[in-house]
Amino acid sequence: MSGAALLGEARNPIIRWEWVYEEWDQIREALLEHLELTMLAMALGLVVSTILAAIALRFRWTMTPITATTSLIYTLPSVAMFALLAPVFGNLSRVTAVLPLAAYTLLILVTNIVAGFQSVPQSVRDAADGMGLSPARRVWSVELPLAMPFIMTGIRIATVSTVGLVTVAAIIGQGGLGRLIFNGLRRAFWTPMTVGALLSIILALMLDALILWIGLLLSPWQRRKKAAA
C-alpha cells in the first residue's frame, strides 16, 4: 500500500450506488457464501456440542473438562486459528474456514444446552417417569421442549457471533462479505467495504430476529415471558 496515493483516494465516497447496482451479482454471491459458511459452521457446531452436552449431562465429572476445553478454544485468536489450519487444509479450502468457526460456537452452545436440560425440575422428570414414559421418550417430548428456550438463546448468540467472525475468514480467501471488505480496504475504494460491513451487520440482526421468532414458535408458553437470557 502506498501512502500518498491512499490519502488522495481517501476522498472516495463512502458508497457509490452505481457500483452496488453494477456489481450486484458479486454482492449477492458474497452474501450467499457468508450465509453458507455461517450455516455450515452452525450445523457442525450444533452436532458436536449436542454430543458434548449429552456426555456432560450423563457423566457429571466430564462437565469441568468439557467447559474448560471449550472455554480455551473460545479464547484462541481467530487469526491464529485460520493460520493454523491454512497450511494443513490449504488456503482456499472451505474446511479451513468452517472448522474454526464451528469450534468457536461450542462454548456458547454446550453451556446453553446443559443449562437448558438442568433447568428441567426433578419433579417434572419424576412425573414423566410416573406416567410410564421411556427415558428416550421423556428426553424427547418432555425435557427437550422445556430446555428449548435456553437452547434457542444459545443458537441465537452463536449464530450472530459467527456471522461477525466469518468476515475474518476473508484473510484466507473465504469469508463471503469479508472479501468485499478486504477488496475495498486494499484499493481504498470504499463502496465494497461499506456494502460488505453493513450487510454483515444487517445479516446478523436479521438472523437474530429470525431465530428469536422460531424460538417463540417452538415454545409458545414463552411468548408472554422474557426469553431466557
Binding site: M1, S2, G3, L6, L7, A10, R11, N12, I14, S71, T75, L76, P77, S78, V79, A80, F82, A83, L84, A86, P87, N91, I108, T111, T153, R156, I157, A158, V160, S161, V163, G164, T167, V168, A170, I171, I172, G178, I181, F182, G184, L185, A188, W190, M193, T194, G196, A197, L198, S200, I201, A204, D208, K226, A229
Partner: protein, 248 residues
C-alpha cells in the same frame, strides 16, 4: 499509541525457503528494527490502553447502575449482543472516516472497535458483582453509618472484586485475541506475520505469527491469574471460590 505519522510499514522480508527454526529462533528476528519485539510492543500497547479505557468507562457506570438497581432490561439485552460485536466490520467502517481526518489507518478504527468489544464483559461482570451482594449486607453497612459511596466502594466492590476482575480478564483476552485483525486493516502489530505469510505464501511466517498471537493470548490469561493472587485478599478469594466462578 503509535504515532500515525511514522513511516509506512514495510512487509516482513524473509527468504522463502528459510526454515521455521532458523527464522523464529534467530536473535535478529526478534531484536531488529521492525522485528518481533517491535510488533509485540505495538500490540501490547494498544491492548493495554483499550483494556484500561474500557475499565475506566465500564466499571463506574455498571457499579452505579447496579447499586441503584436501574438497568435490568439493558443488561439482558447486553448479554445477547456481548458475544456478537462484529469487530472487523466496525473497524473497517471507521477506516475512511479516520483517513479523511488525516489520522491514518491507525490507531482509531481498531481502537474504537476493540473498545466496544471490551466494554461488554467488564460492564456485565461489574453489574453482576455488585447486584449479587446480599441486601442484608448492604443494609447492615448502612446501619453502621456508611455513606452510599462508601457502601459501593468498601462493601459491594470489595465483595465483588473477584467477579469484576474476571470480567476484566475476559475482556483483555478477547482484545488480545482480536487485535491481530489490525494487520489486515492497514496497521501492524503481531498480526503482520500471519498477513505477510499469507501474502508471500510463506508458511514459516504464518506459523510463527500464529504461535506469537496464541502465546500472547495465553500469557494474558496467566497474568490475570497471577494478578488475582496478588490483588485479592485471601478472604475474598475464598469467598469467590464459594460463589463459584460466575464469569460466564
Amino acid at each position: 499509541m503509535p504515532d500515525s505519522a511514522r513511516p509506512l510499514p514495510g512487509q516482513v522480508a524473509v527468504p522463502r525457503d528459510i526454515g521455521f527454526v532458523d527464522w523464529f529462533f534467530d536473535v535478529g528476528t526478534w531484536t531488529d528494527k521492525g522485528g518481533i519485539l517491535d510488533s509485540l510492543w505495538e500490540t501490547v500497547l494498544l491492548c493495554s490502553i483499550v483494556t484500561i479505557v474500557a475499565v475506566i468507562v465500564s466499571v463506574p457506570i455498571a457499579a452505579a447502575l447496579a447499586h441503584f438497581g436501574k438497568a435490568e432490561v439493558s443488561t439482558t439485552w447486553l448479554v445477547s449482543i456481548s458475544r456478537a460485536v462484529p469487530t472487523f466490520a466496525i473497524a473497517a467502517l471507521l477506516v475512511p472516516w479516520s483517513l479523511r481526518r488525516g489520522w491514518g489507518f491507525e490507531p482509531w478504527p481498531i481502537f474504537i472497535a476493540l473498545l466496544l468489544l471490551a466494554l461488554v464483559p467488564i460492564y456485565l461482570n461489574t453489574y453482576t458483582a455488585i447486584s449479587q451482594v446480599p441486601d442484608g449486607t448492604v443494609d447492615a453497612a448502612r446501619a453502621l453509618g456508611h455513606s452510599e459511596t462508601s457502601i459501593l466502594t468498601k462493601v459491594e466492590f470489595a465483595l465483588g472484586a473477584s467477579v469484576v476482575l474476571s470480567g476484566i480478564r475476559v475482556a483483555a483476552i478477547q482484545v488480545v485475541a482480536t487485535e491481530p485483525i489490525r494487520a489486515f486493516l492497514g496497521g501492524d502489530g503481531l498480526g503482520r506475520y500471519v498477513r505477510d505469510g499469507f501474502g508471500q505464501n510463506n508458511d514459516t511466517l504464518v506459523i510463527g505469527g500464529m504461535i506469537l498471537i496464541g502465546g500472547l493470548a495465553a500469557l494474558t490469561g496467566l497474568i490475570f491469574v497471577l494478578l488475582e493472587r496478588i490483588v485479592l485478599p485471601p478472604g475474598v478469594r475464598r469467598l469467590a471460590r464459594q460463589q463459584g466462578d460466575r464469569t460466564r
